[in-house]
């Protein structure tokens, strides 16, 4: 298996390089036969990368500890499921995963274009994909080979970090990777367009589709990461503005910006240069994020440590950035369009404003992330900024963004008329003011939280109003029952309503963030059996204590009865787990989730006499973050399902 893996990996590199040569020759000679051969080469790369991945998975499943990577991230006691996910738990395997997915995506691009004649444009797309693949395969075969064997076979492996033995950690890295990797495809299309000087309807359709798809994966990855942190790390939060979290959030912002301006390009044929900039930025930021994780230049929770790969990523980053900027400068004259914004009150201008805010968020986040490096270079001292910085800077920007989200989809193109404004915004605005007044009466005085809830009401109002009016109109026209009309409308205009669902998801996320950060309750206490701790409307009573073995761990569990007044609502088990092969125990979070609030309990302390120390928190509305995230993903999926077209896949 080791041989199979090494050989397949090597073959993938050879075929990638061959494919690049074929494509280059084809482009120089303008000969489609060479280009076709290069294209087939890419499909072969996907096959070899798949073989290599199967080999590594097999080595994990068969406990082949003579392989250094397997010995480092697995052991015999590890449940089979986590043996598979240990594949991407470390540096080497995650790189192989990366190469495999990129090869798969490349083959998918080839498949998508199967009905279209090969051309210079597609040849450049394949060339960029192959070039990126070559970089990753080079790292795998030459620098950091996952199939490297030890000189001996250890009796057992070192095991997987217990914190990674959690379902959230199973899907968080791969989905995030899928997002990162997916943005290679829009980038390839952008390069092809700039080199050949052509962007047409098909180009924007494909680029947009790949961008939305990657955006969906990135969104899922980010949300799962937050959820994993929340349920597994036990510090009570879901987002810490850690450098690597930021590294995933920044390209999310720029790709969100592109999704919006792509619509303008589609509709009006303008902003073509800007869109190229956004695509380039997104891709470069993805590579930059990877660089941050693997170089160890910043203190981060996700650090792989100094892996010696930083330099390679920096070189790749430099080439991509400089090459991209050069191409943008070169194609600038070709793609630029005269400024044609007729009015400030138009959808175009709100889209522009949305872009400005999104990029401002991206810039502020990036700036804060790399600020230690900047300050060290400039004044010689590392000055760091933490969560307060990001919250302070990004919260107002985010609220502005939320406000635009309400206006943007409903304002008229070109120039909005007063009638249009009145029709779409009067009722939601009045509704939001009423909500705002009620909130003040109910004691919501924290300014940001109040603004967030009120704006959320406004945005939700615009979306719901638009949909209700449209459903009523359709139902009148066709005579369908309203629920039927609603479903049909949702499906027929799925791009539009997919977008609205994403916005609604955003609204819910904002509500969840505002509620849980402004109105969080926290306390800690040390309890003997029978004692209670009170928080908000809850009382937690320490009822029972158990010790038992399960799979690869010994569990110390304290049962806490949850009471509200005299009602016993249920019980929570706060655990400390001692995993085989792990030096330290891990704290397992006990969680009671309702739509109104989460009750969050951890047990950081455990004394010999059976006393326990618990940390208890009430996080209001927090579950709406996950619900909103889910809605965002559903909306994104709905928006990316292609409109029916004869013989076309997009």
């Amino acid at each position: 298996m080791v041989t199979l893996g090494t050989l397949s990996q090597g073959a993938a590199l050879v075929f990638t390089l061959a494919s690049m040569v074929l494509l280059l020759v084809g482009l120089m000679r303008n000969d489609l036969r060479w280009i076709r051969a290069g294209k087939r080469g890419l499909v072969a790369v996907a096959a070899f990368a798949t073989l290599a991945s199967i080999a590594l998975a097999w080595l994990f499943l068969s406990d082949s500890f003579q392989v250094e990577y397997v010995a480092s991230y697995s052991d015999r006691a590890l449940p089979v499921f986590y043996k598979l996910t240990a594949f991407w738990a470390g540096q080497k395997g995650s790189l192989l995963f990366w190469a495999w997915v990129l090869a798969g995506f490349s083959a998918l691009v080839v498949y998508n274009n199967r009905r279209e004649p090969d051309s210079k444009v597609t040849a450049y797309v394949y060339l960029v994909l192959a070039g990126t693949l070559a970089f990753f395969l080079f790292l795998l075969t030459v620098v950091t080979n996952p199939f490297e064997v030890l000189g001996f076979t250890p009796p057992d492996g070192q095991g997987l970090n217990p914190m990674l033995q959690n379902p959230g950690m199973v899907f968080h890295p791969p989905t995030l990777f899928l997002g990162y990797i997916g943005f290679t495809v829009p980038f390839a299309y952008a390069v092809a367009a700039m080199v050949t000087g052509t962007t047409d309807a098909a180009w924007i359709r494909k680029t947009r589709a790949w961008n939305v798809l990657s955006w969906i994966f990135l969104t899922v990855g980010i949300i799962l990461g937050g959820q994993w942190a929340y349920v597994e790390l036990g510090w009570g939060g879901y987002w810490a503005w850690d450098p690597v979290e930021n590294a995933s959030f920044i390209p999310w912002l720029t790709s969100t910006a592109f999704i919006h301006t792509a619509i303008i390009q589609e509709r009006r044929g303008i902003m073509r240069v800007w869109n190229m900039v956004l695509i380039l930025l997104t891709f470069v930021l993805c590579i930059f994020g990877t660089y941050l994780v693997r170089s160890g230049v910043l203190q981060s929770v996700h650090d792989f440590g100094a892996t010696g790969l930083g330099g390679y990523f920096l070189v790749f980053l430099g080439i991509t950035l400089l090459g991209g900027l050069y191409l943008i400068a070169e194609s600038y004259d070709e793609f630029r369009t005269p400024g044609t914004l007729e009015s400030y009150l138009s959808r175009e201008s709100t889209f522009l404003f949305n872009n400005v805010i999104l990029l401002a968020l991206a810039f502020a986040t990036l700036f804060g992330t790399v600020f230690p490096l900047i300050s060290e270079a400039v004044v010689g001292n590392k000055v760091t900024v933490g969560q307060p910085f990001f919250n302070q800077v990004n919260t107002p920007l985010f609220l502005v963004l939320l406000g635009i989200t309400g206006v943007c989809p409903l304002i008229g193109w070109r120039k909005a008329s007063p009638a249009n404004l009145r029709k779409n915004f009067l009722r939601p605005a009045v509704g939001a003011l009423v909500v705002g007044a009620v909130l003040v009466a109910a004691g919501i005085r924290q300014p940001y939280a109040w603004l967030a809830f009120t704006l959320a009401a406004f945005v939700a109002g615009t979306i719901v109003q638009e949909f209700v009016v449209a459903v009523a109109a359709r139902s009148r026209l066709t005579g369908e029952a309203s629920w039927n009309a609603a479903l049909r409308l949702l499906w027929r205009l799925r791009r539009r309503y997919g977008g609205h669902l994403v916005h609604l998801g955003l609204v819910l996320i904002v509500v969840g963030i505002a509620g849980s950060s402004a109105y969080k309750l926290e306390t800690q206490a040390t309890l003997s059996r029978g004692e209670s701790v009170e928080i908000g409307r809850y009382r937690l009573e320490y009822e029972n204590f158990r010790i038992y073995d399960k799979f690869n761990r010994t569990v110390y569990a304290a049962t806490l009865g949850v009471f509200a007044g005299d009602d016993r609502l249920g019980a929570l088990d706060a655990e400390r787990r001692y995993y085989i092969n792990a030096k330290n125990p891990t704290t397992e979070v006990a969680l009671r989730t309702t739509l109104r609030e989460d009750l969050y309990v951890t047990m950081p302390g455990l004394a010999r006499n059976g006393d326990i120390t618990v940390k208890v928190a009430v996080n209001p509305l927090l579950v709406w973050i996950w619900i909103g995230g889910g809605l965002m993903v559903v909306g994104g999926v709905l928006a990316v399902i292609p409109a029916r077209r004869k013989g076309r896949a997009s």
């Binding site: 401002a360 590392k382 000055v383 910085f389 990001f390 125990p585 951890t602």
Partner: protein, 130 residues
Amino acid sequence: MGVLVVVAAVAFLIYRGISTTGAYYLTVAELKTSEVGRGLGAGEVVRVGGDVVPGTVTYDQRALVLEFSIRDPDEPDQVLVARYEGPKPDAFEPEIEVLLEGTFDRASNLFLAENLLVKCPSKYQSEEES
């Protein structure tokens, strides 16, 4: 025009953010001896990193008070005594690299950590925030 307003607003937000929340990140040696370290105000928040010195850790399970010393990995004779009020992070142990955020009281030579982050060695592992 509108863009300029936003750019100015963002620049202001970032400037204010850094001036109100930025903190020096120093080594133990720098905190104790460097000009920047000595020039810190009494209540000024600073971040400092180092390795936990074996034999110095005491943890009061009931009161949730963790006391320990850290030393500069490059200059091992530079040691800082720290006190952290809160639950001991799972991964906390002697020799491990930690990052403290808090204030340094030069008179009593004690670092009061508000945040304690543990850096796990070797693998793709997590620090924990407490």
